[in-house]
C-alpha cells in the first residue's frame, strides 16, 4: 500500500514537529551523535585540557572539528541533550501508551529526564571557586579558578582602596586579540581602552633575546608576548594593553596589564599599575573574579602531616569557625572527603600552600567552594531509574511466569 503524501501546509506544522520530536529515529540519531561527541571530547582533552574540551564539545550548541583535514560542523552536547530531553519527554512520557505493564519504563524514563535536567541546572546555575586562608585569617569571599576581570580603583598614597570599577570577566573573556573596546565610567575622570587581550601571555623585557620576535607595543621596557593557552585553564595568565584617556583632554596613559601581578598567596598584596589623573592616584589590574558566600569562615588551625622522610603530604585538615548573623559561631572541621555543606555551598579541603614550603613553614589551607542547586540530582535520578527498572523487571518476570504456567496448562500442552 502506498504511503499517504505528507501534508506540508502551515496548519499541519505543529503535527509535523510533534512527529519529528517524538520519533524513535531522532532518538537513535541523537544517541549516535552523542557517542561521536563523547569520543571527540575525550580525545580533545589530550590536546586542549579538561576545561577547554568541556566548553568546546559539551557546553556548546555547535562546534567544528577537522576530520582528515576537512572542517565539519557538528552539534554540541548542549544541543543534543536539549533535543534528547524534548524527545524523551514527548516520546516516552506523553506519546507512549499508558499501561501498567509500562509503569517501570515510565518511571525509569523520568529518572533519565531528571538526570538531563540536573545536568542543565549544573551548567546554567552552578559556581565553583576557591578560598585560601592562613591560620587566623577570615573571609567570606570566593575566587574563581579561571575567570579574570579588569578592575580600576582610586588609591590612597598608602595603597588602600575602598571601591573599584570592574569590567566583568564575562565581557573580557570574549575579547579577541585584534579587538579594541572603549569602556566608560561616568564616576571616573577617564575612559578605559582595552586592546591586544590574550587569554595567556607573558610580559618580556625588551632586553631579552625573545623580545625580538614579539610584535606589538613596547611600554616601560616590556612587550606582551601572547602564549598558547595552557591545557590546565587555571594556569593561564591573561594580559592586555590598556589606555586611560582623561576626559579633560589630558595625555592618554598606556600600560601593559598582566594577571601575574595579582596575588598567588593569601597574604600577598596585588600590584596594580598606578597612574595619576587630576592629581588623584589610581590603580588598574587584572583580578580574579570573586563573589561572597552568606557567612564568614575563619581558619583556626591547619593540620598538615607529611610522610616520614619525604615532602609528600600524608594528611591535611582544617579547623575553622563559621560566623553567621543569624546563628551562633560554629567550630567545624573540614577534611579530605569530609566537606562542610552549608547554605547551599560545599567546602572541600582541596590543597595547601605556598608551593615549596618546608617543614616548619607556616602554610595556608585552600578550600574548593562549590554551589550547585542540582548537587544531589544525579543520585536521586539514578535511584528513580533503578526503582523503575526494578519494577519493570518484576512485571516482566510475573508476566513470563504466568505465560509459562498458562502454556503448560493449555489443552495443546496437555494433549
Amino acid at each position: 500500500m502506498a504511503k499517504a503524501p505528507i501534508d506540508w501546509s502551515p496548519s499541519n506544522w505543529p503535527q509535523l514537529l510533534y512527529r519529528f520530536f517524538t520519533s524513535f529515529r531522532l532518538a537513535t540519531v541523537i544517541f549516535v551523535l552523542m557517542t561521536v561527541v563523547t569520543l571527540l571530547g575525550t580525545l580533545g582533552q589530550v590536546d586542549n585540557g579538561l576545561h577547554a574540551a568541556k566548553v568546546k564539545y559539551f557546553h556548546s550548541f555547535f562546534f567544528t572539528e577537522k576530520v582528515f583535514g576537512i572542517p565539519l560542523l557538528l552539534p554540541g552536547g548542549l544541543l543534543l541533550m536539549i533535543f534528547l530531553f524534548i524527545n524523551m519527554t514527548l516520546g516516552a512520557l506523553v506519546k507512549v501508551r499508558k499501561r501498567w505493564k509500562g509503569a517501570g519504563l515510565l518511571i525509569s524514563h523520568f529518572g533519565m529526564l531528571m538526570l538531563l535536567a540536573g545536568g542543565f541546572i549544573t551548567w546554567a546555575f552552578s559556581t565553583d571557586g576557591y578560598m585560601a586562608l592562613y591560620p587566623g585569617m577570615s573571609t567570606n569571599r570566593v575566587e574563581s579558578y579561571r575567570e579574570w576581570q579588569l578592575e580600576v580603583m582610586p588609591l590612597s598614597k598608602e595603597g588602600v582602596a575602598e571601591k573599584a570599577w570592574i569590567y566583568p570577566a564575562e565581557y573580557l573573556d570574549t575579547m579577541r586579540s585584534d579587538e579594541q573596546r572603549v569602556i566608560k565610567a561616568e564616576s571616573l575622570p577617564f575612559d578605559v581602552v582595552i586592546n591586544g587581550y590574550s587569554k595567556n601571555a607573558t610580559p618580556i623585557p625588551v632586553s631579552a633575546p625573545m623580545a625580538v620576535g614579539v610584535t606589538g607595543k613596547e611600554l616601560e621596557g616590556f612587550k606582551l608576548s601572547p602564549q598558547k593557552p595552557s591545557k590546565e585553564a587555571e594556569q593561564n595568565l591573561p594580559g592586555c594593553f590598556v589606555e586611560f584617556r582623561p576626559r579633560d583632554g589630558g595625555a592618554p596613559i598606556e600600560a601593559i596589564l598582566w594577571a601575574g601581578s595579582y596575588r598567588f598567596d593569601p597574604r600577598e598584596k596585588p600590584m596594580p599599575f598606578t597612574f595619576t589623573v587630576n592629581d588623584e592616584l589610581y590603580g588598574a589590574m587584572l583580578v580574579k573574579k570573586s563573589w561572597t558566600v552568606p557567612f564568614t569562615l575563619r581558619l583556626d588551625e591547619f593540620i598538615f602531616e607529611r610522610h616520614p622522610g619525604v615532602m609528600t603530604a600524608r594528611n591535611y585538615e582544617s579547623r575553622v569557625t563559621r560566623f553567621e548573623d543569624s546563628e551562633p559561631d560554629k567550630p567545624l572541621e573540614i577534611k579530605m572527603n569530609e566537606p562542610m555543606r552549608h547554605a547551599g555551598y560545599t567546602f572541600f579541603q582541596e590543597s595547601f600552600g605556598p608551593s615549596g614550603s618546608q617543614p616548619g613553614d607556616e602554610m595556608f589551607s585552600q578550600f574548593a567552594v562549590a554551589n550547585n542547586p542540582a548537587d544531589q540530582w544525579p543520585l536521586w535520578a539514578l535511584v528513580i531509574n533503578g526503582i523503575g527498572l526494578g519494577i519493570h523487571f518484576v512485571i516482566m518476570l510475573v508476566n513470563f511466569t504466568v505465560r509459562s504456567r498458562n502454556k503448560k496448562l493449555s489443552p495443546a500442552a496437555l494433549s
Binding site: W123, A124, F125, S126, T127, M137, T139, R141, L155, G159, V160, A161, E162, K163, A164, W165, I166, Y167, P168, E170, Y171, T174, R181, V182, I183, K184, A185, L188, V192, N200, T202, P203, I204, P205, S207, A208, P209, M210, V212, G213, G221, F222, S225, Q227, K228, K231, Q235, I256, W258, G260, S261, K269, P270, M271, F273, T274, G283, S290, W291, T292
Partner: protein, 225 residues
C-alpha cells in the same frame, strides 16, 4: 558587590555588546561601562610597585661571581638560587635582568656563555631554535627537525641541544657580523618555564670549550637550602 549571575544568563552576556554595536552605528568599539563595587577588607590593600619589572615579578639581582662566592662555585642571590661549577678559564660577569649567570671565555673575552630563565614557554622551542639559527645565518628547521635534535641533561631533564656554525649576527641593536663563529645552546621549554643556556664565540675557541660547556650545564642546580 556584583551579584553572582547564573551561567545561563552570563552565557548570553557576550552577545550584548554586539547588539549595542548594531544599535550605535559609528561608535563601533564602545562597550557597556565599568561597574562599581565596594571592596571587602581582604581586598583593600595593594602594593604600589616601583616599576613594571617589579609588577611583572622579574628579578633584577645580579648573577653569580660577586664577592663571597666559593672558588669554582657560583651562587646568585634572590629568587630561586642557582649553584654551578665554573669551568677553568671562564670568567664570571655580573648578571642582568635577563641573565641569571653570565661568563666570558678567552683571553680577550671573545666568547660568552649565559643562562636565562623565563616564565611560560618563552616563545616555544621551534621559534627559539630558529631564532638562534638565523643569528648564525643558517636556514630554519622544521618542527620535525627540531623535535629530532639531540638532547643533553639540564636540571635533570633532557634539553634540546643546538650547535650551529656560521656568521654570527647578535642583533639587539647591532648590525655587526662575526665570521667563522659557533653557537652551542640548550633549550628547556615547558609551560612551567623556559631555560636557555647559550654559548657563542669563535669556532676554534668553542671547540676547545665544548667539554667545559657540558661540565657547566650538567652542574647547574637549584639551591634548596
Amino acid at each position: 558587590m556584583i551579584p553572582m549571575m547564573p551561567r545561563f544568563f552570563t552565557s548570553f552576556l557576550p552577545a550584548l555588546p554586539a547588539l549595542l554595536l548594531f544599535a550605535s552605528c559609528g561608535e563601533s568599539d564602545v562597550t557597556p561601562g565599568l561597574i562599581e563595587r565596594s571592596l571587602s577588607d581582604s581586598e583593600k590593600s595593594f602594593k604600589l610597585a616601583e616599576s613594571s619589572t617589579e609588577r611583572f615579578r622579574y628579578q633584577t639581582t645580579p648573577a653569580a661571581g660577586s664577592a663571597g662566592s666559593a672558588a669554582g662555585t657560583g651562587e646568585n642571590e634572590g629568587g630561586p638560587r642557582l649553584i654551578y661549577d665554573t669551568p677553568a678559564g671562564w670568567v664570571e660577569k655580573p648578571g642582568s635582568t635577563m641573565r641569571d649567570i653570565n661568563f666570558t671565555i678567552g683571553e680577550n673575552a671573545e666568547a660568552e656563555c649565559y643562562v636565562a630563565r623565563l616564565p611560560g614557554a618563552g616563545g616555544g622551542l621551534l621559534a627559539n631554535v630558529n631564532r638562534w639559527r638565523s643569528q648564525m645565518g643558517a636556514e630554519a628547521l622544521t618542527e620535525e627537525q627540531v623535535a629530532a635534535l639531540p638532547t643533553k641533561p639540564l636540571f635533570g631533564q633532557q634539553a634540546s641541544f643546538v650547535a650551529v656554525d656560521g656568521s654570527y649576527t647578535p642583533g639587539m641593536g647591532t648590525t655587526d657580523t662575526f665570521e667563522n663563529y659557533r653557537l652551542l645552546g640548550l633549550i628547556l621549554s615547558s609551560d612551567a618555564g623556559a631555560v636557555f643556556v647559550k654559548m657563542t664565540g669563535p669556532k676554534d675557541l668553542l671547540s676547545k670549550n665544548e667539554a667545559a660547556f657540558d661540565q657547566f650545564t650538567q652542574s647547574i642546580d637549584v639551591n634548596l637550602n
